[in-house]
Symmetry: C2
Subunit: 366 residues, 2 copies
């Protein structure tokens, strides 16, 4: 189809770091998790980050159908209430947008200008997808399963419903869920109501919202969001590698009181308990957290997690001395993966798990 | 006190329109209402805009106290459960941030770079403040009542708890409420849990969140958020006038499908039903809505409101013809106030109620 967005008023996507009005619009729409809520195991409803590619569809849960289609031996469709009657699973899962940290890169592509805030943890309730896959019974020559949402729009001139794919093996190994509740309440419209996919341990793009179609494919899925984007690339020519599992990362609750505009912090001299969260992909454990004060690292204390796919709490006692300081935190997971100090560069700004830096001014008590 | 944020790394607040990293941080934190949810009478929980000056305090509702203090004859304090046992009022109220539309101004001050999205409507539940004021019984020489939240931070180097004031007359006339529920659920932390003020018909800054103190004052309140900001000013020297009631305004749900990056729209040729909302201050009614197509105005149809302080729905049938178009909407209220085409200029970017413009490309069916 022709590209409706190649009119002369539309700026091209460039690779420099200029922050223009389009990015400002995206930042206003796509809300980040308030870092102070990292003090809580579960991100409050509505405070969980949101990245919405197109518009939030307002769907009627009473009329919603999920169709199993394509190369299944026994294709079928189910209503939401039928899905709600299947065995129920609730688990806390940490989701992170793969573009989180994009603004740390230079040069970088125009896109949603996340800093640190595109991560959150909710109690998700739904049912495992695997038994429904077995019921639909994919043909032997099935290569992939695609997942399509009701949301439609354009990216780089290509009109499409948001869609992603997984292999059958991934669906089994990743404990993929069909989700209809979040924090004990019906899923909110902006989080994919009435039904979404949840792929624990992977970046958020895999957890398709407003899910209405699951298709068995005998060839690789070629949807825009699978092939054209969400790939780690070094150049436009680079075919790249798909973005999949979450990289090890950590954040602290910025201590003290903020300046309204800069969000820099002011803390009173003395002992300050710093709290934060750390997480990684695939349900792996966090092995170590270090707390950095002006580049010097001290080991912090892990305080545990409330589920295999949930972030791990940590804390550290900091003796705050008067003056200007830069605080950082750095996680290592059980596989030995450690957060880099410098952001790993990627053409579209995916997967930046470099350490967080917080500017703090410590006021003397004197 | 000395200003902890006057260190050399901190950029000064300027009056030009440069959008820097501080503004990007604010846009990532402070979430706008998704304009597509204007299709609903009530903004979904968590999708209502948020403007948080400092950090969201995480408060324990079981331990929360509201103190009536200062020049009251019978000062007292109440727990949250005591407030919940008082006569209960639920009403839909439209709140708008007074900085909504700030980016429409030029030049403009650094601040939260809202475009159109800082407005939403919730079902708020609480109790009227006036009977509690009568119980506390302000002294005859009481000039104002101040309202203080638990949130603390710095603005222009001044450390303070967020605080605002109203006169006794305003408290009576504006149907001011103490709120503990939003959309039938306990207030969310980021919206002021466990208790906030709600001042219907005024811009959002008056509706103090995390409310814990109400004080009767025998002199005018001099809190930062009352005196230093939230005033309409033409220059730094201008004492200005306080920002109070919401100005008449309207928005449409942007039609068709969006481009991911620019948020420009693509619509198929033919009849398109445009829907939107209009609102104004003080519970006044919306008298008229006009729909603009490339600068030519047609009268649209009002579809009503579900409460005195809630926005009014409207719709319009648009015959979309192929090509590039600019769609606009313009409301007039019962007092004759009408939205301007050009943004009214203000030093800090308050009260911009100029008409919304949406770029739409109409695709030919041929």
């Amino acid at each position: 189809m022709s590209n409706p967005f190649t009119n002369p008023t539309k700026k091209p996507i460039t690779e420099d770091g200029v922050y223009d009005n389009a990015e400002r619009g995206l930042a206003n729409r796509n809300s980040g998790t308030l870092l102070e809520t990292l003090a809580l195991d579960i991100t409050p409803s509505g405070a969980h980050y949101l990245l919405t590619h197109f518009d939030t569809p307002i769907l009627d849960s009473n009329k919603h159908l999920l169709k199993f289609d394509g190369a299944f031996k026994d294709p079928f469709e189910v209503t939401l209430s039928e899905i709600c009657n299947l065995p129920k699973t609730t688990m806390p899962v940490t989701l992170e947008c793969s573009g989180n940290g994009r603004t740390g890169l230079s040069p970088r592509r125009y896109s949603m200008p996340w800093e640190y805030e595109a991560v959150g943890t909710s109690e998700w309730t739904g049912t495992l997808l695997a038994p429904l896959m077995a019921q639909a019974n994919p043909n032997k020559d099935t290569v992939e399963i695609s997942f399509t949402g009701a949301d439609y729009g354009y990216d780089a001139g290509v009109g499409h419903h948001f869609g992603r794919s997984l292999t059958l093996e991934q669906i089994l190994n990743l404990e993929v869920l069909l989700i209809y509740e979040m924090n004990g309440q019906p899923l909110l419209p902006q989080h994919g109501a009435p039904l979404r996919l949840l792929v624990p341990g992977w970046y958020g793009m895999a957890s398709v919202k407003w899910l209405n179609k699951i298709e068995a494919l005998t060839e690789q899925f070629t949807g825009f969001q699978q092939i054209q984007t969400y790939r780690f690339r070094k150049s436009v020519e680079d075919e790249g590698l798909p973005v999949t599992q979450i990289r090890v990362k950590s954040l602290m609750v910025p201590p003290g009181a903020p300046d309204w505009l800069s969000r820099d912090r002011c803390v009173d001299e003395g002992t300050v308990i710093i709290k934060g969260r750390a997480w990684t992909g695939m349900g792996h454990k966090i092995a170590k957290i270090e707390f950095g004060i002006n580049g010097a690292w001290e080991e912090a204390q892990l305080t545990g997690r409330n589920g295999k796919y949930a972030w791990t709490g940590w804390k550290h006692e900091w003796k705050a001395e008067p003056g200007q300081h830069i605080l950082q935190c750095r996680a290592t997971d059980e596989t030995g993966e450690i957060q880099p100090i410098k952001p790993p560069w990627d053409l579209a700004g995916f997967g930046n798990n470099a350490v967080q830096s917080v500017n703090v001014f410590v006021k003397s008590r004197g």
